[in-house]
């Protein structure tokens, strides 16, 4: 985000600051007004932009960007930045200008694509584009001012909790809205709006402020995050289609969190991780009371969970013990092969090529719904007049599983074991020479990750109803890894965001499904170029990759001095 090339030199910005403000304000006004005009000639495009005086949701977003833009410009003009705590209003206006341009351009492009040609864009739409262009050009011309400094902001407790509540509400309704969009263009437009909002938050320092608040109210934040996740099914009006996607997202996220221990903490590149999920799923399927189950022992689910985890962990130990002595690329190759061996083995355990355990390519279908303490997960329930379908039930269960996995991840990370893992990732030889049990910790990371994947797999088997070997191909392993890299290695929030994006986008972007892999590839390449630490980096990695980023370094330096001085003063 910081490497966007300069279009205008600082000197030119000094000169054109006032005209820039005026142009940008005109742009902002246009963005605020044009949503009341129709943007398209046909209501089939996006979310019906043909009505006068009554903006569609997407048009409302444009309006919001316009208002934000005007507000930022106004405050930036009239409020002098403070020295201790500083919000970079003008920088935010710049981000809003760029975001608005991208947003409107995406909308018009989508209208043109969906209706066949730009002729379907009404003058209102063109006016909006003009406004966005003006906003963009104008904000390029204004002086951005000093970077934001919010680390020392004092936020009163009630305000902090209000902010958290607001953020959570936005997350809840945003995700509900996004999931309900069946139109690809609308989804992409919404994503670009989201991008614009996040960019504004980052550039003004609002994101830093949220971080400060989050740090102060950690428990409230975590609790509210789970409340929001818990409330999510209630926003879906019993629609199982969306809840099915949400369930898949959670399974994917749980697995990615497990892999995060192996890759993000211990630094072991595992390219066959999906096999552990498969091992758990197959174990659970075989032990279920499905008519196609090949074993006569059908223990209660809690036992199945433990057995699935143990089977996966055992596989992890078997593959890990000989191979963890090699490292880096070699380990990647061995695990890659292991993933394929697993899939082929499952195909071959069909009664012809080997003992009949998995019914080969057919897999095990007809896995019955879970029943825990008399609660059947297949039933539809009505709570407060809202119907919760089958997938909602699994969603709640998976939420619990994800919470447990996150808990394990976070607590191991902040312990002697986690420090040992990071030390191994940093310098294996030195770790060994400092008394860290390198081999033992590597094996443990491998087995622990495998166990968690196995647990996730056991729920997946029941949620998916059937388990087949072709669900566990290399591509899935690659996607898991991509989710971690995209989100931010070794972080919780980052991996959750990455997993959600990677699982949600293919569902919502079916119209580009042919180019899915191409787009992901491009996305990853761009990420590696511009933000190698991931979307939500941990502070350590941010320092690692942007060492030249003097702003950040200076800020930290300043902060340290300040705390040092404060300590001196209190003495």
């Amino acid at each position: 985000m910081r490497r966007i090339p300069r279009l205008v030199t600082p000197a030119q910005q000094e000169r054109f600051h006032r005209p820039g403000q005026i142009v940008a304000a005109v742009g902002g006004l246009l963005l605020t007004v044009t949503p009341f005009l129709p943007w398209a000639f046909d209501s089939a495009a996006l979310d019906d932009m043909t009505v006068y005086g009554y903006p569609s949701p997407l048009q409302l977003m444009a309006l919001l960007l316009g208002v934000v833009m005007l507000a930022l410009l106004a405050v930036g003009e009239w409020l002098r930045p403070g020295r201790r705590v500083r919000i970079a209003w003008n920088r935010g206006a710049k981000a809003a200008g760029t975001g608005a341009l991208v947003f409107v351009a995406v909308i018009l492009a989508a209208v043109a694509l969906e209706l066949g040609g730009l002729v379907n864009v009404t003058p209102g739409g063109w006016l909006a584009l003009l406004g966005a262009l003006a906003a963009f050009v104008g904000t390029r011309l204004i002086v951005g001012g000093p970077p934001p400094a919010v680390e020392r902001a004092k936020v009163p407790g009630w305000a902090g909790i209000l902010v958290i509540a607001a953020v959570m509400a936005v997350v809840l309704f945003g995700s509900a809205y996004a999931l309900n969009q069946d139109d690809g263009g609308t989804f992409v437009a919404f994503l670009s709006f989201l991008g614009a909002v996040i960019a504004v938050l980052f550039r003004t320092g609002g994101m830093g402020l949220i971080t400060v608040i989050a740090r102060a109210h950690r428990k409230v934040l975590i609790l509210s995050a789970f409340v929001v996740a818990f409330l999510f099914p209630f926003t879906q009006n019993g629609s199982d289609a969306n809840m099915s996607i949400a369930t898949q997202v959670l399974i994917f996220a749980a697995t990615a969190m497990g892999l995060n221990i192996v890759v993000g903490l211990a630094g072991l590149l595992d390219l066959g991780y999906i096999a552990f999920l498969g091992a758990g799923a197959f174990t659970a399927a075989i032990l279920s009371s499905s008519a196609f189950s090949t074993v006569s022992w059908h223990p209660p689910f809690i036992v199945v969970v433990l057995v699935s985890g143990t089977v996966a962990a055992t596989l992890g130990l078997i593959i890990g013990t000989p191979t963890l002595r090699v490292s880096g690329d070699y380990l990647a190759i061995v695990t890659l092969a292991f993933g394929e061996i697993f899939r082929i083995s499952m195909n071959n355990l069909d009664g012809t090529n080997g003992p009949n355990l998995t019914h080969g390519t057919n897999g095990i279908p007809g896995i019955p719904d879970l029943e825990i303490l008399g609660f059947n997960f297949g039933d539809t329930h009505t709570v407060f007049g809202i119907t919760l379908g089958r997938f909602s039930n699994y969603f709640f269960l998976l939420l619990f599983v994800v919470a447990v996995i996150i808990l394990i991840f976070v607590r191991l990370n902040n312990s002697r074991i986690g420090r040992g893992w990071v030390a191994i990732r940093e310098d294996e030889k030195a770790a060994e020479a400092m008394g860290v049990n390198v081999f033992g910790l590597k094996i443990f990371a491998f087995a622990c990750g495998a166990f968690l994947a196995g647990v996730a797999g056991s729920v997946k088997a029941h949620a998916d109803i059937s388990v087949t070997p072709d669900q566990y191909v290399f591509l899935e392993s690659a996607f898991l890894l991509a989710a971690i890299v995209l989100g931010g290695m070794g972080t919780v929030l980052g991996v959750l965001v990455g997993a959600t994006l990677l699982k949600l986008m293919p569902e919502k972007l079916r119209f580009v499904s042919d180019y899915r892999l191409l787009i992901f590839g491009l996305l990853l390449v761009l990420m590696m170029r511009f933000r190698p630490e991931g979307l939500v980096p941990n502070e350590r990695r941010q320092l690692e990759f942007h060492e030249e980023d003097t702003e950040l370094a200076a800020r930290i330096e300043e902060e340290l001095e300040e705390t040092g001085a404060m300590k001196e003063a209190t003495r």
């Binding site: 808990l407 002697r416 420090r419 030195a430 060994e432 020479a433």
Partner: protein, 276 residues
């Protein structure tokens, strides 16, 4: 020190030989380090000093010979060696660059703590107690080596001298009885070198034995109780700094017998005496 002489020396290496194929890097070297003693290890480049260190710390398994540490034979595994009470630093600094100074030292506590996965996840009383002790000790050690002001800095962002000191703090965190320092003043300016010297004296005063590899003659002769000079894998001489310093073979080994560069460097060696 007289009281400790009746005890067995903390480290006794006998006949340690290390061969790589046809090359004998270390050739039947004997070394005795008394408790609370500072032992210097000198020798020209390629004399086998670091290889000898690696043999002591279990990074290499010596081809032949025996290393006794604290009255027991050392197992040839770096981890076990640390457990037994011998910690080292590296010639080319090997810190965990992306961990903070604090975390680096806390990693050093790994072998003296035992909280397992289960207690780490449920945050049992044992975990809390141990974690607190680890933290306290790390802060204390960082203060000891003079890094109290950079506790939360990433190791990679520290200055060169600070990185060397952090390595020493990390080694001390393993509660060693003997510290092996591989060129602790390489690349330091005179002031930093003097600080390093003071630090090593402080470590000795804690009752620890220290073995130092160094090229800086002035540093080694003013610091060490005894000095061992290695040349081409063999012990050339072992003795007090005065004995080693005045031995013509040491001068020859270091400088060669070339007529043109002899006198100047000889002068440098002279000036490095304890009286200087």
């Amino acid at each position: 020190m007289t009281a400790t002489t009746v005890e067995e020396p903390i480290l006794v290496a006998e006949n340690v030989t290390m061969r790589f194929g046809g090359l004998t890097a270390v050739d039947s070297v004997d070394l005795r380090v008394e408790r609370g003693q500072i032992m210097g290890l000198i020798g020209p480049n390629g004399a086998g000093k670091t290889t000898f260190f690696n043999c002591l710390t279990g990074l290499y398994v010596p081809t032949s010979g025996r290393v006794r540490f604290d009255s027991a034979v050392l197992p040839p595994k770096p981890r076990k060696v640390v457990q037994a009470g011998m910690a080292r630093t590296f010639q080319n600094i090997r810190l965990f660059g992306n961990m903070t100074a604090m975390e680096n030292v806390m990693v050093g506590r790994y072998c003296r703590t035992s909280a397992g996965a289960l207690t780490s996840v449920i945050r049992g009383p044992k975990f809390r107690r141990e974690e607190q002790q680890t933290r306290d000790r790390a802060v204390e050690l960082l203060g000891f080596v003079g890094l109290g002001n950079v506790v939360e800095h990433l190791a990679r962002n520290l200055s060169y001298g600070d990185q060397r000191r952090l390595e020493i703090a990390r080694a001390l965190a393993t509660d060693p009885k003997l510290v092996l320092l591989d060129e602790p003043t390489a690349g330091m300016n005179p002031q930093e070198t003097r600080q390093a010297e003071e630090l090593i004296f402080k470590i000795r005063d804690l009752g620890l034995a220290v073995v130092v590899i160094e090229h800086d003659m002035r540093f080694i002769f003013s610091l060490c109780d005894r000095v061992l000079c290695l040349v081409q894998g063999r012990v050339l001489i072992e003795g007090t700094p005065e004995e080693v310093q005045s031995d013509p073979r040491v001068i020859e080994a270091y400088i060669g017998t070339g007529p043109q560069d002899g006198p100047a460097l000889e002068a440098e060696l002279d000036e490095g005496g304890p009286g200087a």
